[in-house]
């Protein structure tokens, strides 16, 4: 599995980006995060799960409550602009490979 690609898929979703923006200012519980959205609570939970799995968010136990906060290290990694550029070329070259394999089999 390509983890870094997953990170970019994670931030491509507008709700998840909104969650990241929300949590950027202060750590919050899942309930507090969900109260900012019209979406159903399980949907928000799913988003939180994805963001946690790709390490953009970190969970922190505070007594009985679980707070979510940004994982600064991971965010910085995402800001590494080379990765989308590399993926763009990787996609192009994958296409080239597919086109030429097809071309070869047609001959």
């Amino acid at each position: 599995m390509n983890l870094r690609r997953d990170v970019f898929q994670a931030i491509a979703d507008p709700t998840r980006r909104a969650i990241l923006m929300l949590v950027a200012t202060q750590s919050m519980t899942a309930g507090a995060i969900a109260s900012n959205f019209d979406t159903a609570r399980p949907t928000v939970s799913k988003h939180l799960q994805i963001l946690t799995e790709c390490e953009l968010l970190k969970q922190e136990q505070n007594g009985r409550e679980v707070h979510y906060h940004l994982n600064a290290k991971k965010i910085k990694e995402v800001a590494d602009f080379i990765e989308p550029f590399r993926q763009m070329w990787d996609d192009r070259f994958n296409k080239l490979e597919a086109v030429m394999k097809n071309y070869k089999s047609e001959k």
């Binding site: 909104a18 080379i82 990765e83 550029f85 590399r86 070329w89 296409k95 490979e97 071309y103």
Partner: protein, 154 residues
């Protein structure tokens, strides 16, 4: 798993090196650059001109919904079959200055080959700006979708 496409961009330098190993014989890899119809297929573009010879030139444009979104052109300085292409690359109607590209094609085995693209920019700043484009586009698209949702809510 090791990545097939690698990008090397050292801090403060005005160049990038992109390498890729293909599951294709060298001749087929080179053909993908040589034949306009094949180039069009994998680049998703329309070739307006392609003169594969020393001092030849090329131009292509990419359309979306019938509108031309992107045009690029350049001059070919060296064209050595199954070995190398040296060319300039310029995006039209953008502030980016022309860039110089050295493409080297190598045979690895009978069925695999390698491409090394060495791109030289006018400055390190222009290099960084160009490399940030796919990242910025991704963010803008995400932002646009966020805006759509906000618009629907209000």
């Amino acid at each position: 798993m090791e990545q097939k496409t690698k990008v090397s961009a050292e801090d403060g330098k005005q160049e990038i090196i992109i390498t890729r190993e293909f599951d294709l014989p060298l001749e087929l890899l080179f053909k993908a650059y040589e034949e306009p119809e094949l180039f069009e297929q994998w680049m998703g573009t329309k070739v307006l001109k392609m003169e594969n010879k020393k001092h030849g030139s090329y131009a292509f444009e990419t359309s979306y919904n019938g509108n031309v979104m992107f045009r690029a052109n350049g001059t070919i300085h060296e064209f050595v079959l199954n070995q190398k292409i040296t060319r300039t690359f310029e995006m039209e109607n953008t502030p980016f200055p022309v860039q110089l590209e050295f493409l080297e094609f190598e045979k690895l085995t009978d069925d695999t080959s390698k491409l090394t693209m060495h791109i030289v920019f006018r400055s390190a700043e222009f290099r960084n700006q160009l490399m940030q484009m796919p990242f910025a586009q991704g963010l803008n698209m995400a932002h646009d979708r966020l805006q759509e949702i906000v618009n629907k809510l209000t």
